[in-house]
């Protein structure tokens, strides 16, 4: 019973899982059930009152999902996690704990296009006001802070261009402002970057991407770093004030350094309802077991493809932080020394039409709206994921009309390069 800390690959296989006590099953069982019996009335009351640990109803928690939660918490170095139905659900649930109507949060302008939409339109209708800042200009975050600011939201590696965010610099802005830093770590995965080690207070993921890794299951997760003190100044009443939903419990006082994850579960997931299917949790858990192997291959392939494209006469520019000439290479060396991820963009000299032409000629790359699959993927963001943005916002978020986004899979890199070569050539 040593206290030796296991390595990342060991955690990826083991954390959260144990042989089933009843049957001895070694793989995590899929607990495909809506509900769980109580021992007696007192047990039921204790569970509903948050006095005992245990299962009630799968919208609040499920044993298969719990293994996934503990595993991702361990990989990120967090105190606890909550799995939800999608990456977008994770973002809603997180902000619901932090913002009251009329409050603000600061978000990096370089984000997944779907997140830009969610923040601009859906969240505005809840009275949660996003204020945009430029991740390449840290002072723009400082300038955006007001007394109503409740959080800062960034991506570690930003979709679509794979740019690297200076997490530590933005974390000190958050600390000074007395607000938590939320990092969407979807494109890096904890194998490449552990944002909590750099000052993040909350990490969110779309599990749909590299963590699940096989393009077969939607999922999202929220990781509590356990670092933020929610009790100061009544700024975060969901955590610091007596909750009428639970007869006056104060969550921070009761749950200490995992109170945020509990709030997301018992106030967010319970009431908003975006529960993850246990079957999806099982698929994603299986994916995570090979995360270190896959992620390294994704990165090594991506670098080879980026180098090939950078040397091709039809290509105007490549935005991949792993290339020594890239604007983000210094940050990549600091934050993601094992590799700069596998999602990046490039632009074609032939502009919009050349992009459309390339996509139609590719044989191995699949044209679809996802990233982080074993398969290599291609998309033209300006006409798809980022199509709802106006032209200026498209360019600002790295999705101009001439830009093509790739998500490099784990096939043989020679085959990926040959496919791009034939599609670019003719």
């Amino acid at each position: 019973m040593s206290d030796r800390l296991p390595g990342f690959s060991t955690l990826a296989v083991h954390a959260g899982a144990q042989p089933d006590p009843t049957t001895g099953a070694r793989a995590t069982p899929i607990y495909q059930t809506t509900s769980f019996v109580f021992n007696d009335a007192d047990h039921a009351a204790s569970l509903f009152g948050l006095q005992a640990f245990g299962n009630i109803y799968t919208r609040i928690g499920n044993p298969t999902n719990a293994v996934l939660e503990e595993r991702v918490a361990a990989l990120e170095g967090g105190t606890a996690a909550l799995a939800v139905a999608s990456g977008h659900a994770a973002q809603v649930v997180v902000l619901q704990q932090l913002l009251q109507p009329g409050d603000e949060f600061i978000a990096a302008r370089k984000l997944y296009g779907g997140s830009i939409n969610q923040f601009t339109h859906a969240f505005k209708s809840f009275g949660w006001n996003v204020v945009w800042a430029d991740p390449d200009d840290i002072a723009s975050f400082e300038r955006a802070v007001t007394p109503r600011t409740k959080a800062i939201f960034i991506e570690s590696i930003a979709n679509p261009a794979g740019s690297i965010t200076d997490i530590e610099a933005i974390s000190s802005v958050a600390r000074k402002a007395g607000v938590p830093l939320i990092v969407d770590n979807t494109l890096a995965s904890p194998y490449l970057i552990r944002p909590i080690d750099h000052g993040a207070d909350i990490v969110v993921h779309s599990l749909t991407k590299f963590l699940g890794g096989h393009g077969n299951s939607l999922g999202g997760i929220i990781v509590d770093a356990g670092t933020f003190d929610w009790s100061t100044g009544g700024k975060y009443p969901m955590l610091s004030e007596p909750r009428p939903e639970y007869h006056g419990i104060r969550l921070q006082e009761t749950f200490g350094n995992f109170a945020f994850a509990i709030a997301c579960r018992v106030l967010g997931l319970r009431d908003l309802g975006p529960a993850l299917s246990p079957f999806n949790a099982f698929m994603i858990l299986t994916g995570i077991e090979t995360l270190p192997l896959r992620m390294q291959k994704h990165c090594d392939n991506a670098r080879a493809v980026a180098e090939f494209l950078a040397g091709h006469p039809a290509v105007a520019s490549v935005s991949y932080a792993g290339l020594p000439s890239d604007k983000y290479n210094q940050l990549a060396r600091k934050y993601a020394p094992k590799g700069a991820g596998a999602v990046f963009t490039f632009s074609l000299k032939g502009g919009y039409d050349a992009g459309v032409n390339l996509v139609s000629k590719l044989q191995l790359f699949s044209h679809l709206a996802n990233v982080g699959d074993t398969r290599s993927l291609v998309i033209h963001p300006a006409s798809t994921t980022h199509s709802q943005l106006d032209d200026a916002a498209k360019v600002k978020s790295g999705a101009g009309p001439d830009v093509v986004r790739l998500s490099i899979g784990i096939e043989d890199k020679e085959d990926l390069i040959a496919d791009l070569e034939q599609a670019l050539g003719a």
């Binding site: 042989p19 006590p21 006095q51 606890a80 009761t254």
Partner: protein, 194 residues
């Protein structure tokens, strides 16, 4: 003892060996953390003694409230202090007058008094600060994993099946699991400020 991060074996050893626990500041209000912890530990077989001078004459889950540590009138293995940091020292000083001495003094989540800890340790008493025994029990039994909490333990052994919804063994063979170093650091910074 380094009070910023305790080895699992230290906590496991305490929770496996103590039988009676006097809880200073136990509350009869059923949404207070002390009530949660009192009930949870009582259900797991600990002999719980509620200490609160404001409630003498009443009972907490069938156990009569006692006014102070000196009034318990029998030896007690562990004292669990549910008071904030500024009220710790007088309780520890009172505990040091008991004969026999308690084996363990435990200060609740958020409570830390290094000077009081030093005094207790000089008398041979084990000290835990800024932790909750309910959470630590749940973590080492892995019950807390049902809530998606990082138990920081790993095991390939089959654990005993839960009894009445409780995982009662803290002796899961386990290696340390994922660290939560950032959280430990934050807790330390906070207690230095307060």
């Amino acid at each position: 003892m380094n009070h910023d991060a305790y080895p699992d074996n230290y906590i496991r050893g305490i929770l496996n060996s103590v039988k009676s626990i006097a809880m200073v500041g136990a509350s009869p209000v059923n949404v207070r953390p002390s009530y949660f912890a009192f009930k949870y530990l009582a259900q797991r077989g600990y002999d719980m003694i509620p200490i609160n001078p404001g409630h003498v004459g009443k009972e907490l889950l069938g156990k009569p409230f006692v006014a102070s540590l000196r009034d318990i009138g029998r030896p007690v293995d562990m004292i669990d202090i549910f008071r904030n940091s500024s009220h710790i020292m007088p309780v520890v000083e009172e505990a040091l007058t008991l004969d026999p001495l308690p084996k363990v003094i435990w200060m609740q989540l958020g409570a830390r008094d290094d000077a009081a800890a030093e005094k207790a340790e000089a008398a041979g008493i084990k000290v835990v600060m800024n932790r909750c025994p309910k959470i630590e029990y749940g973590r080492l039994s892995s019950e807390i994993s049902w809530m998606g909490v990082n138990s920081r333990t790993l095991s390939s052994k089959r654990a005993p099946a839960p009894t009445q919804g409780m995982r009662l063994s803290l002796n899961r063979m386990s290696v340390g699991g994922g660290d939560t170093a950032a959280s430990d650091r934050a807790a330390k910074n906070k207690s230095e400020q307060s």
